[in-house]
Symmetry: none
Subunit: 267 residues, 2 copies
């Protein structure tokens, strides 16, 4: 099963590379797309046709390059699109208010439910020209450091593809997501119950007495700190058992030490 | 004005590359960092020292490579860090619950207000080994397509650096961060350093031997579980001292018990 098939609209998310100068960059961009589950690549008037460099850089994403249609103009490449987003290196004198990648990706994935959507990347040196920008419904700008904003083409495609994937994952119920769901603790069933935790805290209190930890100080402060620490750690049941085991052995040592001491005193 | 200077804590955000195999990738990673305003690069035992390939790929980010310290082990590279985040290609057998890049970046930038924070990237082929992952407080996983998850090193650094920059631009106060019940609260100024934590783990190992906790079993499994538990809990320095105190008293009891036992045997 193709993993990306979980996203019904993924085929409507089209990455368009305009006037790419280095064939290797077409391959790197294809690889960046494919890692994020995108598959629809379109080329507009590349300076050189895809070649060995392209495939070397594609590193397994060759299928995207091989099936990529090549158009002479951007207008033709986006003729069937319902939303076109131009990626701009800098918000020089463009008329469009640039979106940030996150908002752009959310809008693009929403729009892709209704039909093809294009994310358009310009030439390595000069980006998109004014005629091309005029075809775009909106602009997107990656918030690079103004002092060093030279993202290469593949890096820009990587960032936007990543945001598209995040936007698609956001739209899914948690159960449908292939990756580990990061917001959900992994083993709720194993998480210690509060009764188990209270049992641990009682054992801790007894053991600290046994090993003479407090040495005349009131025990409350240390016990409160330990409680806070272990509650914060979200212990699972196995960890509670492990800590019980350590406490039991510490107590055993204290008993041995104490019984000897007592006997010594008696003797 | 250096643009990144708008973020007071940016120098505390350290990118650590472990065992990098291709020097060119060190340059690409430096470039990816610099486009996002990051400047602190650290290398751990690269297979080859930075060379011409490195500088060719750095494309203007050479300063990051030239000032990058090189350490023999990851432990040394993160000794002064208060939060260490390991980037994992897939959540195969790692014990840590992986964060997504967005949550990880928000927590990292919040933690960086209090001290150095490391984002650790492993080898191109094999990632981080188990000993290295054991040094991490948390894991981060880029949600790539499970069918084609071969992000290259620079692409992974680009995505995480981008999220770090977004998190800095958001300027979120620490209180507003993360999910409802964060398992790993952001570090603050009191958070134990990794050197302090390693000291605690060594003391734990010695004490478990002393109290005869293992009883013939190999000690590694218990120590690994305890390490995971305490790393997850983000101990502060006072808590580390408290635990040292408990261990010291347990050891003292074991010594007393042992000396008596020996004397009993002699008698």
């Amino acid at each position: 099963m193709e993993a990306s098939s979980q996203f019904a609209s993924v085929r409507n998310l089209r990455i368009v590379l305009v006037g790419t100068q280095h064939p290797g960059n077409i391959g790197s961009a294809a690889r960046a797309m494919k890692t994020m589950g995108l598959s629809s690549l379109v080329l507009v008037a590349p300076e050189k046709a895809p070649d060995r460099d392209t495939h070397a850089m594609a590193a397994g994403a060759d299928d995207l390059v091989e099936t990529a249609p090549i158009f002479a103009t951007l207008a033709e490449a986006v003729a069937d699109c319902r939303w076109v987003l131009g990626c701009t290196a800098r918000s020089r004198r463009i008329q469009l208010e640039p979106l940030n990648p996150r908002d752009a990706a959310r809008r693009a994935t929403a729009a892709a439910v209704g039909g093809p959507v294009a994310l358009v990347f310009g030439r390595e040196r000069s980006g998109l020209d004014n005629v091309e920008m005029a075809l775009c419904n909106a602009a997107v700008h990656i918030p690079s450091d103004p002092e060093f904003s030279s993202l290469n083409l593949a890096a820009a495609v990587q960032v936007l593809s990543y945001e598209l994937r995040c936007a698609m994952l956001e739209g899914l119920p948690a159960a449908a997501i292939g990756d580990p769901a990061p917001r959900t603790p992994p083993a709720d069933a194993q998480t210690a119950t509060h009764a188990q935790l209270e049992g641990l805290f009682e054992h801790l209190a007894v053991t600290l007495e046994a090993i003479d930890f407090h040495k005349g100080r009131a025990p409350e402060s240390a016990l409160r700190k330990l409680r806070r620490l272990y509650l914060r750690a979200n212990l699972d049941a196995a960890e509670v058992r492990l800590l019980h085991g350590i406490l039991a052995d510490s107590e055993r040592m204290a008993r041995l030490a104490g019984s000897h001491t007592t006997r010594d005193e008696i003797l």
